[in-house]
C-alpha cells in the first residue's frame, strides 16, 4: 500500500498547511491498529488528540449546575416580582379607569335611552354625508321615500307581522 499521501499530509500538518478535514483524515488513519513502522512513531500524537476529544464531565455535574441555575433563577424571579409590585398601582389605576369608563358609558347609554324613550341606537359617528347641501339631500330623501312608498304599496303585507307591529 502506498503511504505517500499520508506522508505528504503529515509533512503539511507540521507546516500548518493542512485543513481541518485533512487533519481529521490523519487522525482516522492513525486510529487503525496497523500503522507502517516508519509512521508509527507519530501514532501517539493523533491517538492522544482523538482520546482527548472524548473527555467529558460526569453526569452529576449536570445536577449540580442545574441546581445552581435554579437558585439564581429564583433570585431573579424574586427581583422581577418586586418590580411588578412596584408597577402594580399603575395597572390597578388603569383597570379602575377602564372599569369606571365602561360603567359610565353603559350608564350614559341607558340613561339616554330611558330619558328620551327612543329606540334608535346607531352611532352618529357612523354616518358621513353623500350630499353637501340640505336641498340635495331632501330631493334624494323624497326620491327614496317614493321608492319605498311604491314598495310598500305593491308589497303583500304579511298580516301576522303587521298585526305584531300595530299590536305593540
Amino acid at each position: 500500500m502506498d503511504y505517500k499521501y499520508i506522508e505528504q499530509l503529515l509533512e503539511r500538518y507540521w507546516d500548518c498547511e493542512t485543513s481541518v478535514e485533512e487533519e481529521r483524515i490523519l487522525r482516522d488513519f492513525f486510529a487503525q491498529a496497523e500503522v507502517p513502522a516508519h509512521l508509527a512513531v507519530h501514532k501517539s500524537l493523533f491517538d492522544y488528540q482523538r482520546a482527548e476529544a472524548t473527555v467529558g464531565l460526569s453526569d452529576d455535574f449536570d445536577a449540580r449546575v442545574l441546581a445552581q441555575v435554579e437558585q439564581t433563577e429564583t433570585a431573579v424571579r424574586a427581583r422581577r416580582l418586586t418590580l411588578s409590585r412596584r408597577l402594580r398601582p399603575l395597572f390597578r389605576a388603569a383597570a379602575a379607569v377602564a372599569i369606571v369608563s365602561l360603567l359610565g358609558m353603559a350608564a350614559q347609554h341607558s340613561f339616554k335611552r330611558s330619558a328620551t324613550s327612543e329606540g334608535w341606537d346607531y352611532s352618529v359617528a357612523g354616518y358621513s354625508d353623500s350630499y353637501s347641501t340640505p336641498q340635495a339631500a331632501l330631493d334624494s330623501c323624497i326620491k327614496v321615500l317614493e321608492f319605498v312608498q311604491d314598495g310598500l304599496k305593491t308589497a303583500v303585507v304579511d298580516s301576522a307581522h303587521s298585526s305584531k307591529i300595530s299590536g305593540k
Partner: protein
C-alpha cells in the same frame, strides 16, 4: 404582570367592539361585506343632515314633515356601472336571514323584501331590498324612531 396587561387590553378591546357593534345599519353592513368587491355605491343622509332637512319642508307638506322628523338617517346602496356581481339581492336577503333575530321580515314580493328592526314600540330600522334577479338592485336602510303612523303618513305623501 403580563396577565394584568392582557386583561386590561382585553377589557378595552371588548369595550371598543361593543361600541363598534351598535353603530352599523343594514346598508353599511352590506357595504362592508360586498361594497368593494362588487363596486357598489352608497348614498347617505346622516342624522345631522336630516336635522337640517326637516325645516326645509315648510308647512305645505305636513305628511312629509311628519315622516322626515321620524327619520334619523337614510342609506341607499346601489350598483354602479362596474358592478358585475350576480345575485346581489340573494346576498342581501341572506344577510337579513343571518341576522333574523335583528331583522324581522315584514313584507315580501317578487321584487322587494322588507325587513324591520324594532326596539320597544319603535321601528328603529326599515330595510328594503329591491331588485329583479338581474336588474334594479337596491338596498334601502332607513333608521329612526318610527311609529306605526309613520307608514300611514308615508302613504299619504
Amino acid at each position: 404582570m403580563r396577565k394584568t396587561v392582557v386583561l386590561t387590553l382585553l377589557l378595552w378591546i371588548t369595550a371598543m367592539a361593543a361600541q363598534a357593534q351598535r353603530e352599523q345599519d343594514f346598508a353599511s353592513r352590506f357595504m362592508g361585506l360586498y361594497g368593494e368587491e362588487a363596486a357598489l355605491s352608497c348614498h347617505t343622509v346622516s342624522p345631522s343632515m336630516m336635522g337640517r332637512i326637516v325645516p326645509l319642508t315648510g308647512d305645505s307638506l305636513p305628511a312629509l314633515r311628519q315622516v322626515l322628523s321620524q327619520i334619523k338617517s337614510i342609506r341607499v346602496v346601489m350598483p354602479t356601472a362596474e358592478t358585475e356581481m350576480p345575485n346581489l339581492k340573494d346576498k342581501a336577503c341572506q344577510l337579513a336571514l343571518d341576522n333574523r333575530r335583528r331583522y324581522k321580515p315584514y313584507a315580501e314580493t317578487e321584487e322587494r323584501s322588507i325587513y324591520l328592526r324594532k326596539r320597544g314600540k319603535y321601528v328603529v330600522e326599515f330595510v328594503m331590498i329591491a331588485g329583479k334577479p338581474t336588474s334594479g338592485f337596491a338596498v334601502v336602510s332607513i333608521t329612526g324612531n318610527m311609529t306605526e303612523d309613520f307608514f300611514s303618513e308615508l302613504m299619504k305623501i
